[in-house]
Symmetry: D2
Subunit: 351 residues, 4 copies
């Protein structure tokens, strides 16, 4: 048997965390007899209803296994191979999905510089040329990440501006919502205020980073995009046979506002962490802290020692920028203890 | 909340069943603190070791979400787009994966007639022509299913013959092992006796149909096939971030021979069911019953009534051939009760 | 320099033949100054007008390099990857394009047995099951070859029946017209009588096998299929920069009925050949001879000797079925001389 | 019939030009009787021998229809979908092939800024991170264009530096040689001095822009890359059935140094044009003129009038940068006449 894991935590990623206990309980409760496979079960129906209740009654909802899959299959329903997706240089679809969009959709990504993870209408506009010219890929979708890979958050108005510009230019708007709960909590708005109400056409609705085992949803607000998604999901190798066990995780997440409780906690821990680090001479925050991520420049030589006790990733090797992520189970003591360690490491270095 | 499900069972599929309690317990136990994501955790290491211990110490093991993905990614490592996979007409990859092999690999499947789900060297040989001719796809892999989609089982010697022929002709051998445990139990041999010891190059090692939530492994016995699989899995949208929760399911399945207990029970229930049906005039078994599937011709008009109480699929609408699947949680009473219902339905019809 | 080729001819294929002199003359004449590239030139406009004049004024016409490309790009505009193309077992797209449809479209071909190269509504209907079921590819197009790979020809009524059945079942009809001119001549009907007038949605309109250097057209009668074809052609690597030189070949082919003169001659030579072979004891015709292909069983041992003087392909090694193709430049003497050789070879063998 | 084209010329592109008369003559001469199709003919053998004689005796040579196809199929033999191609921002494969590399290879292009069309080791090095990490595409090839899309030329030493760096980092080097003849002439070196002798692994050897109708070759100096190219070309829809007519164009191009005569002339015309424009106040050259392309800033308002008489493309709408291309058939009078028109247009504007 596996040796008992030390119940330690890290600042490496919200997917180093486990599962929220309420989610596991719901899975155990759902393990009762036979139900129809592939989503024809009451749990899936209930989960879809709950997602609609949060995001919009007209939403089309489909569960998949992974966030990369949610992004790729969303976009595959939006663009043809000769079309293109405009996205941030820092977008997960661009940097961290091993070329899955290119492989599965066959399309090109057109990149917008994004110093703090966000893109603007001005950046998108730069790619709107050679329209109708067969030698050039044709922009067809814009993809933004909420909260961004740098932990920043688009306001509802910023999203609305992008959506309006997109639609005025025959572009569709996709949102990678791997950390959408952290964004909603940060803005203190309902989920629909940053999705269906501001012009998002398709959403990767991510549960895994907020305490699920593995559960993501593809949500179409632009309904015609959904018309053949059942086939795309199956051919895309993302149709779970025992679907109830993904669905019930979403039910738990959307029950008694578990999503808000978990994301609020994570965000609060990030604020605490940012505050502590801001007070340490020799540590420099590099990004606004809106959600559950803190980016900080640290003296390069202290990093390995810190990582040994509190694993985290160095995001940019060139300037020793570290990424620290908090999650639903981060404890205040973790933050204080880590901050102390940083303070100490910098201090002893300066002697 | 979801209305409490009636704890009923069905003969529809082994994926209508839930999860074995020992698997869920292991998942709960593994939900303890942070561990490295994407497979760098001790559970994954342990699970790989257990798979190797069953299948062969040199096996390369990778966990994925779904059986279709296991098949497609295995084969993608084996064939180039201009090459081809030879398989049974009845193969899951041919009939039930919505063209995923063609979409993801870009290759052609070459079909061998398979009245009882199995193929032979003679059938494979039919496709070995036009070798080296650029107008024709080049056969490069053979794929067999163990147990087959018709519930029949290849003997070790049959597999060895196919493997030897394949290798003698520069073909690789893939096994879709979605129900491999039922096959091993049926033959009363260890798992390696139908895989690594008889020439299989790559195996889709399926846990979901034997009591897991969602857990499949890609296993390469031919090690060079594995060299870039980490990238193929990630680009293939099958890399689980919280990998420990797939891994721990396999640990449970391979602990105290849970796999054997579950598969033995399911097979025994299938034998019981086959025996009962064989004794009913008006019901005709159509396939040898080796594993946990029973195929039976039933009077067409009684089917809807039976399905209402005991859901199952009609496999062949043309001749009203029903497919009945037993699982780890099928109870003897279920079988007897279903058989009675069939007897009764046929009886009242004949009056 | 290349050694002067012996001006011999063969029965190997209509693409062993060269180019019709009128075609080359037209190319030389078109080599005059600069014109717009990529199809924006007057030759292309004129060629499109000529194609429309033969096939239908509403046709959308696009020139490409090769017949395989015409087939693949036609079908790519008709089916999505999770859909399927129903075609004859003997179809060029199935047997002789090295899996290009699977690679480029990502879709599955569903095969209908076709002893003489043709398929019927009954055969197509066999594949219309599991509609709407995400595990199964969804038939979306039917592809027929006119004249078929066995040299047989569909009558206008046969095509109309297939088209009507297809459309009634939400299927589109594609025609691989690599030898469409031979078919039209065989039936003694205009080209539109076997295309636009009988329900064909998209046509691969092949010139190469009827005396062009390399020139094929994709023709859509179902206009919405054409809406993004400019992009598909460019991304499909089939947009010729100096398009005028493909276009002008079609202009020549459609001037003074060159197509009819060439195809009539080839068909007549095939009839002559078939007649001669039918009179030889020991040679057995295996297919009706409608167009410019003759299939014949020959004593296996005489084949190499014949091929040495008159190259041709053995179509089926199993039964020594030879395929003999005539072309626009086959001479009556070629036929008589070949027939004599066969007669002689069989005769000396029987002694 | 097409109205006689006015024998005008343009500065729009070297593919607005027609065919060199020696090429057409060779095609006419090759139209003699039947020869084996698909490249089994003596013309193809001869053409391959000639290419080898120019580029290196060990080169593997394959003819295809188009330059985009040559690039895509070269790179498809070099990289897997999860790998990446590093190239200039201005590379034809990035800007002008409608996403064909992404569609056919499924890979990502990693972009290096290239103000004058060229990239350097420093730019390539920026992309060599996250090696071995499955979330990130893995750089596997570098692609450079010779002459570049901006008409600049890499020296042999520059190519050697890139090749050495590439090979030291397990990268392969591809050259898009759509205008390789212009580059060789510009440098006054043999073709092999900028290809096989300086570390290029694969070359798109382009004839179309130097006076062919449509003829490109894929040339592998790194021989293992060629091992399955016959299949890739056929599946890639680029196998010409009447191959002799592509081959014979290359024979003509490589006979009596036609390639050098044509490219020298085009380059000389570009120098003349650049000299004239440099002397016009109000016209500003923006790129070094190494080959047959001249980039020049012109007053925006005079452009339409110039284009009416001498078609050319505005390369950059933002700053009214025009691209002027000369070809084998550009006449000195064309250049002088165009320059006069520019002078006049600018002059009358300044009044």
């Amino acid at each position: 048997m596996v040796r008992k894991q030390k119940a330690a935590r890290a600042f490496a990623s919200d997917n180093w965390a486990g599962v929220h206990p309420e989610v596991l309980e719901a899975m155990v409760a759902a393990n009762d007899g036979h139900v129809q496979s592939y989503g024809g079960d009451p749990y899936t129906n209930e989960a879809i209803a709950r997602v609609r209740s949060e995001l919009g009654e007209d939403a089309e909802v489909f569960f998949v296994f992974s966030g990369t899959a949610a992004n790729v299959l969303c976009l595959q329903s939006m663009v043809r191979p000769y079309e293109a997706v405009i996205c941030a240089e820092t977008a997960h679809i661009n940097t961290s999905e091993c070329g899955a969009p290119e492989k599965h959709i066959g399309c090109k990504l057109l990149i917008v510089p994004s110093p703090h993870g966000k893109i603007t209408v001005a950046g998108i506009r730069e790619h709107l040329h050679h329209l109708g010219h067969p030698h050039h890929v044709q922009p067809r979708a814009v993809s933004i990440t909420q909260a961004t890979e740098y932990g920043t958050v688009y306001t509802p108005q910023e999203i609305r501006e992008i959506a309006d510009f997109a639609h005025a230019n025959s572009l569709l708007l996709h949102m990678d919502g791997a950390r959408i709960f952290n964004a909603a909590v940060s803005l203190d708005v309902p989920l629909r205020a940053i999705t269906s109400e501001v012009g998002v056409d398709a959403l990767s609705f991510g549960g895994t980073k907020n305490g699920l085992i593995a559960g993501e949803a593809v949500v179409f607000f632009n309904q015609p995009l959904a018309h053949d998604f059942e086939f795309r999901r199956m051919q895309g190798m993302q149709l779970s046979s025992k679907m109830r066990f993904i669905a019930v995780q979403f039910i738990a997440l959307l029950t008694d506002e578990l999503w808000r409780r978990s994301a609020s906690h994570a965000n609060r821990m990030a604020q605490l962490l940012a505050g502590e680090l801001a007070g340490i001479k020799g540590a420099t925050l590099t990004q606004p802290v809106h959600a559950n991520e803190v980016f900080v420049l640290l003296p390069r030589e202290i990093i390995p020692g810190l990582q040994e006790r509190w694993p985290f990733h160095v995001w940019n090797e060139a300037n020793a920028e570290a990424r620290l992520i908090t999650s639903f189970d981060t404890e205040e003591d973790d933050v204080m203890s880590f901050a102390s360690l940083v303070r100490e490491a910098i201090g002893s270095r300066q002697k």
